[in-house]
Structure formats: C-alpha cells, structure tokens
Amino acid sequence: MSMNAPLTLFDKLWAAHEIVRREDGEALLWVDRHFVHEGSFNAFSQLKARGARVAERGLTFAVADHYVPTRSPRRVIDNPEIARMVRTLEDNTAEHGITLFGIGDPRQGIVHVVGPEQGLTLPGLLIVCGDSHTSTHGALGTYSFGIGASEVAHVLMTQTLWQRKPKRMRISLDGRLAPGITAKDIVLAIIARIGADGASGHAVEFAGSTIRALSMEGRLTLCNMSIEAGARSGMIAPDETTFGYIRGRPYSPQGSAFERAVEAWTALATDADAQFDREIELDAADIAPIVTWGTSPQDALPIDASLPDPAREPDAARAKYLREALDYMAVKPGTKLTDIGIDRIFIGSCTNARIEDLRAAAAVLSGRKSKVPGLVSPGSSAVKRQAEEEGLDRIFRDAGLEWGESGCSMCVGINGDVVAPGERCASTTNRNFRGRQGPGARTHLMSPAMVAAAAVMGRLADVRPLIAGRKL
C-alpha cells in the first residue's frame, strides 16, 4: 500500500482482495466468506447444469433462515413447498460438502445474525451472500454486499467475483443520542434525508463519535439498512468494540493468533485526509424516534410529525408519489402519526432481533400488556437461548405476545408467517414495501423499543414517556 496516498477503509479492503484488474476497470475479487441459504437454490441449479463443483467449500457456510418455520412446532412444516425449500438446501449442502446450520442446529439463525455471532464475520474480510442485507456484516469492518443468483453461482464455482469499484461515501454522525434513540432511528433519519437511492453506486463508511459510541448490535442495524439507501455495502472501521465482540467466538482466531489479528485489523481505518466522492454529516442531537408512514424506507418522519399532504406539494411527481403511498397505507394527509392505530406488531429480522434489541423491547413491555397480537422472533437460536436465560421470553409472553423461533419470518413472509391483507403492522424490519409482509399488508418500520411502545398503546407512539424512569 502506498505510503503517500491517504486511503479510505474501503480502498484498503478493496485493494486487499483484488486478484486482477482489467484495463476496462473491472476487477476480479477474492471472496473470504460466502453465505448461502434456501433461496440460493437457483445458483445450485446453475452448478448442476454446468456439472460444476464448489471451489472452496471451507469458505462457504449455509444457514436455513428464509423458509424455516418461526412458530412452534418447528420440525413440522405443513406446507410441502416450503418443506421442499428447506430440504433442497440440506440436499445441496450435503452434496457439495458445505457446513449447514440447519433447523435444529444450535447455531441456526438469520444468516446476518449468525455470521458475526459465530465469528465467521471478521474485520478485513470480503463477504457475499445472495441477500441484499449482506451489508450488515460491514459493521465489523468488512466489505460485504448482496449478490444475485448468477453471482452466487460464480462465487460457488470460483470463490471470486467480478466487480467495478463503487464510489466512496462517508456518512458522519457526531454528538450524543438522546435517551431512547437507537441505530434504527439513525438509519431511518439518514434514508429520509438522502432518499432510497441516495447512496446508489457507493460504498458507505459510517463514521464519527456517535458511531464509535454505538454497540456492535447498533452498528449491525445501521449497516444492515445501507441497502435501503441504495448502497450495496456499508461499513464501520473496527475498534475495541469490534475486537471485544469477536474475541472468543467459535470461528474467530484465538490466543496469540487473535492478538496478531487485532494488530492487522487496527490498520483498517480511513487515513486522515483520505478523499471521499461524497460526504454527508448529521448531528446526533437532531435525531428523534422515527417511524415510516409510506411504502419506502425513505418515507420516514419523527414520531411527533403529521402525514404529508399531496395537495400542498408543488412538485407534481412528488405529489403523485405521496398520494399513492398514502392510498396504499390507508391513511389521510395531515393525520398525526400518533393517531394511527395498529393491528399487530412484529419484532424480528436481520435488522433488529439481536439480544440488545430484545432487551430494549422488553424494557418497555415489562409489566405491561400489548393491545394487539404480535410475534417476537429472535435473530438466532443463540439469541433465543440467551433471551430465555435473561427471562425476556417471559416478559413478551406476559405482555400477550407470541415468543417464536429464529428465521426471516414475518419480515419477508415466505415461511408462511404473514401480516393479513389490510392489516397494519408496527415492525422492527427493514422494508415497508407494498405487500412485503404479505399481500395487502401495511408496514410501519421503527426501532424495537418503538414497536414495543406501539404494542402498549395500540397505535404508533413515542417510546420516550414509556421509558422515563425505567431501567434500560
């Protein structure tokens, strides 16, 4: 690495993985970890069609998450098509000798929770998976991004990927977050500001004192939703928080190897004076609890706001956009967000189902009842065990909520756990797209604490009065 040109974290990660760069700018990159799941079946079909084998099965890990049941009993899958999806992953991984964290394995969970949890996600690695929320792993200082089935097949066959280097963007946050404000509020505030395509074509680094102060769980939430701002990858330079999180994880280096690794990982920081193609700065003190009101994560507002009015929107295209979103969500212009009643809640997903997320929701729900039904699906089987050790499951159950199993569950609804047509769900997930949680479902995205507040109030609600004086 040149001593004179200051480099960004992303430049360093990219350079370390470049095998060749063609004259046209396309580079062949080495992939350190490849995660596959039930949805990767199209890629395995491509391998079969070519009679190809997996190049590096030791660097490939499979997790059953997208289609697995998240309600008990778990081992019985009534729907034969869903059962076939789970079985196909078992067959494909067995055929190719790939380690599978399947149903019943204590390491099973959502792939983007499991990778960091098992120590498979380490700073400096390039990680890909056929899932757009692979950006999550960047929280540990990796270059991670979601890929399509053809790219999955390419990685399976070669452990490499052709890419053109994206532009570099830094989003800096400084200052202290107010009580009750979380990484989810930060990322929704960012997306509301720059738009659902605001970071398209860029690799985003999150930096600043607010980011440094975030826990690993918070950082994972933040990087997870980079894709909702259009960025295929988000990343945070590794630091003591990162090293502390990794130490002692099953697949992480141990003993003296770990100490040597930390030395190398410490160099993975953006140099002073390194250049970004774009810079955004936010003040943490300005961020309030945020909820989405429309059909894109960019349709996000502070909880004390009211819905936009298309009639007051001078831009015709914007007015049309607002009208369609309000219409789908069945809400009237000008309505206060806190006047919007909900039918159900969901706490789960790769965005917000880690132990800290469950603790935050439980802190609000403790000793209270939910006015609506809801499902709590822990991010991994390990998170589930830990939550039960801490008695969080009891708090959720006592509040009237269902304590489920780990998987993608109601975030994407393909395991059969869906929000009914027309129902409105307060959800800790990442996408409020039309029909995302089921055909005709209406989704409001927010933090786990805010979902818990919505459950207690039966409507969208500000969590802050509910946590005043509570131990968090």
Binding site: A16, I19, G25, E26, D32, G39, N42, S45, G58, L59, E81, R84, T99, L120, L122, G124, D131, S132, F145, G146, I147, G148, A149, S150, E151, A153, H154, M157, T160, W162, R164, P166, A196, D197, S200, G201, G230, A231, R232, P250, Y251, S252, Q254, G255, A257, R260, A264, W265, S296, A317, K320, Y321, G413, I414, R431, F433, R434, G435, R436, P439
Partner: protein, 219 residues
C-alpha cells in the same frame, strides 16, 4: 447468456419511483423453479387484485402494452431485494430492456448477467418518453446498444450503460468462462494471501477446531 444488440418494440411506461423487486416478483413466488416460467407472476400484485382479476389500470394490462418488450420506468427501478428471479420474471414475460433514470445496483448486475439491458437516461428523458407513449401507446421504441441510442417517433437520445456491461451484453459473454482464463492468477493470489493475511482464517473450520482444543486444554 443472451446477447443484446438492437431492439425495436412497444414500450410500457411504469411511472413508479423506487419500484422494488418485491413488486416485480412478490416473495411468495420465489419458490417457483425457473423452469416453471415466471412471466405469469411478473408484477403479480400490481397486475392482479386479491381475487386474481386483472387490474385494468395497470399499464401492462392495457391492450397496447401487453406485448411490450421494453419498460420505461422511474428512478431507482429494481431497488431492494437481490432476488435475481425478478429479472427472470421480466425476461419470461418478454421484457428485454428497462429504460429508467437509475437502477438498484444489484438489480442492474442481475439484469446484465441474464442479457437484459438496464438503460439509464435522465429524469427528463424518461418523463418525455413516458408522455410520448401516453399519447401514442403503440409507438415503437428502438434501443440500439451499439450506438447507445433510444429513438421513438422524432425523438432520439443517448443512454448510459457501464462500458464493461455494454461489451458483455453485445457479446453475450459468460463471466464464468471469462474467469476460467484467470485460474493461475487466482491460485497465486490465494497462496500469497495466506501469508499476507493469516488472520483472515483461510480455513475457518480449523479456527473453530483450534478454539475447541484450546478450551479443552484450558479446562
């Protein structure tokens, strides 16, 4: 991979910003194998109501655009989920090109992998093209990848596509075949990388085994 050189066809306007891949192919259809043909479920919940009846106001259901091979979309077309089956659904329906001001990064890559051209134009050009088609729905649109031009009636403008992707589409190149010519470079990188980045755990299972051994010894 299919080649893309030049296409003249009817084009269907879809003036919806951030039209995500969940709309192109709702998640419940992801179980379907490619061989089933996904054209029938393209834009399923926008094309059909809850009783599986066509929504007559959805552009692709209108007589002039049912046979469209081109879609003219709005900003951030194909954002969201990485599902490549969204591209399969477009192709299986007969769509070979999407013209829009911008695309989801993963979608655009998936499109090129399958021979579907994502042609980027300005917001103003997309709007102009949509209004032209609104007035005269059956106007043929010609997309020429060699010239990088779109022509419709008396209007002509250029579009942007990554030059590498353009070359791949024009030649129908398969990236796996291309990578096969770099196997020596890959092997050399891998060997050097083990020394350069020992901490990258090139054998994660070994790391896990060491860990267990270490614990047992410590215990």
């Amino acid at each position: 991979m299919n080649k893309f050189t030049r296409l003249t066809a009817t084009a269907c306007p879809l003036d919806v910003a951030n039209l995500n891949t969940d709309q192109l192919l709702p998640a419940r259809f992801l179980k379907l194998p490619r061989s089933a043909g996904l054209g029938a479920v393209l834009f399923h919940d926008l094309r059909f109501d809850a009783d599986a009846r066509e929504r007559p106001d959805f552009p692709l259901n209108q007589p002039a655009w049912r046979e469209a091979k081109i879609i003219v979309g709005a900003r951030n077309f194909g954002c969201g989920s990485s599902r490549e089956a969204a591209v399969y659904a477009l192709l299986d329906y007969g769509i070979q090109c999407v013209i829009a001001p911008s695309f989801g990064d993963i979608f655009a890559g998936n499109a090129v992998e399958n021979g579907l051209l994502p042609a980027a134009v300005s917001d103003a050009e997309a709007t102009a093209l949509m209004s032209l088609l609104g007035e005269e729905p059956r106007l043929p649109v010609t997309v020429d990848l060699e010239q990088q031009t779109i022509t419709c009636s008396d209007k002509a403008f250029s579009f942007v596509v990554d030059p590498v992707r353009r070359t791949r589409l024009l030649n129908g190149w398969d990236s796996i075949a291309l990578t096969a010519s770099y196997m020596d470079e890959i092997a050399a990188f891998k060997a050097a990388d083990r020394t350069r980045r020992p901490w990258a755990c090139h054998r994660p299972a070994q790391c896990a085994t060491d860990q267990v051994t270490n614990r047992n010894n410590a215990g």
